[in-house]
Amino acid sequence: MASHVQAVPLPNPEEMGLTRNVAVPFEEFFELQHTRLFGALAIMTGDRSEAEEVMQDAFLKVWERWDRVSAMDEPVGFLYRTAMNLYRKRLRRAGVAMRRAVNLAPQEDALAAVETRDEAVRLLRTLTPREREAIVLTAYLGYSTEEAGKLLGIKSNTVRVLTMRARDSLRRTVEERP
């Protein structure tokens, strides 16, 4: 799995401010990466608080191993893989703890609650959570469908179907706008 982590391509390393094999202080790495990761997680979870917690836990795990991670070819790939693992784990927890969470868990979808005036956010709200996950990983973070499938624990074909459904849904929504 470690080789997979390192094989994950950066969407655009230079654009993201990270040059390969150049160790940067962790705080600088955090400053460069946290906004993008948070945005991706916020769309996927639909919840700012969950997104922040997953993001923080992912960065803390990276920080604990910063000596090794900063020497990797693709430290950003390691960060995203860590974040996706944590995200999946929290989804499982949300399912497991479902019964007792019913009464005492936040129920608000952040995408529904904030920035509803923003067209892009409004469009993404029309997608199912699974479609959001697929499109964020492939269209935003630049993963292949195979890599996205591994990160999400589903088949690459399923990622393709979800991505196509998401694209169709977005197109229909745009076309149906008055």
Partner: protein
């Protein structure tokens, strides 16, 4: 022609993290370190006590004196800081022959849930019964590592005096004259609810975004700083009863696994509002047959994947054990935060979950 990359990029740019982000990361790191320090002490002590208990009682084969969990027993009066007994509460079904908590039913006099994060992960819940039983559990960043995100349900017992002291502590906050809904700003509070019996009256207090039934006549109000402080203090006190209750308040202060008489088995597909028969079709035939023959109640909830409906049936522990046997033959099970859950593929990347939860004495 639409450009989904541009849509996602623009949306992500609109969703910015709360700030200052790095300072918030440092605070989370510090909280985790504190937890780890507590863990080291708690685990060491639990191992010591378990070893002593094994030698002095004959270990887990002496059922007459064995707690229903895996045998570890800790004495909260010996610890510093909130106790988090590791390996005591059950996450799955009890061992065969374990003695259920008695009596089967109890009158709830206090029920609380404190959310320590805005999500569901950091949660503490406690139920206090008129017969003295205190049943609680903690979810989230537990001392003890990531492999176990819950203490499982822990049972202790108070004397009648202890019950009165806890209720007095809650009522003395002055927050329970009537149903109350506290809204922002909430300081360090996130979300939660308290339901307390005061004589013949049951009063509810909620804060934050809970989705909790706030009470028919709940008054929504912005809390004063004193009210926020009172709630924070109450949280700390209720999570560590041993730190302030006198010895006379305890009938049995030992941490024991809560062993239920029955289980609520719920099934659902994440992010979907499927009907019952649709979900049952996705389960192994024998399991579907057993569940389909039982009464079931429908519920709705929301998790990270969006709204979903779920169906729950209450069954005896032995019936649950039989169902677990069927499911174990057919799919992977997971012991995680809240208990035992089985997951099966449901097509198109969806998953159906079957979740086993202990039924509490008031349920």
């Amino acid at each position: 022609m639409i450009d989904e990359r541009d849509i996602v990029r623009r949306a992500a740019e609109r969703l910015t993290p709360p700030g200052p982000p790095f300072e918030r990361l440092l605070r989370r790191r510090d909280r985790k370190r504190r937890n780890q320090r507590i863990t080291a002490g708690a685990v060491g002590f639990a191992v010591f006590v378990a070893a002593v208990w094994f030698v002095t009682t004959g270990g887990p084969f002496d059922r007459a004196q064995t707690p229903a969990g895996d045998g570890a027993v800790t004495d909260p009066t010996e610890q510093t800081g909130p106790p988090h007994p590791i390996g005591v509460g059950l996450l799955g079904l009890p061992p065969e022959g374990a003695t259920p908590s008695s009596p089967e039913h109890g009158q709830l006099v206090l029920g609380i849930g404190f959310g320590h994060t805005d999500g569901d992960a950091g949660r503490f819940s406690l139920h206090l019964y008129a017969d003295g039983r205190v049943i609680w559990q903690r979810l989230g960043d537990l001392p003890g590592g990531e492999h176990r995100g819950s203490t499982g349900l822990i049972e202790q017992r108070l004397t009648p005096e202890g019950v009165d002291l806890v209720l007095a502590e809650v009522l003395s906050t002055g927050l329970f004259d009537h149903d109350l809904e506290l809204v922002d700003p909430l300081g360090g509070l996130h979300y939660g609810g308290i339901e307390v019996r005061d004589g013949d009256q049951v009063v509810r207090l909620t804060w934050g975004d809970t989705g909790f039934d706030k009470g028919a006549d709940a008054v929504a109000t912005t809390p004063t700083p004193d009210q926020v402080s009172a709630l924070e203090r109450l949280d700390a006190r209720l999570e560590d009863l041993a730190s302030w209750l006198p010895a006379t308040a305890w009938e049995d202060p030992e941490f024991r696994a809560y062993v239920p008489t029955s289980y609520s088995v719920c099934y659902l597909v994440e992010g979907e509002t499927f009907g019952r028969s649709r979900i049952l079709e996705l389960l192994p035939a024998q399991a579907a047959h057993q569940l389909g023959a039982m009464d079931a109640t429908r519920g709705e909830a929301v998790n990270l994947l969006g709204p979903f409906s779920f169906w729950c049936s209450v069954m005896t522990t032995e019936e649950a054990r039989g169902l677990v046997g069927i499911l174990e033959d057919a799919g992977p099970d997971t012991l995680d935060d809240g208990g035992l859950v089985f997951t099966f593929p449901a097509g198109r990347g969806e998953q159906v979950h079957v979740d086993f939860s202990a039924v509490l004495p008031h349920e």
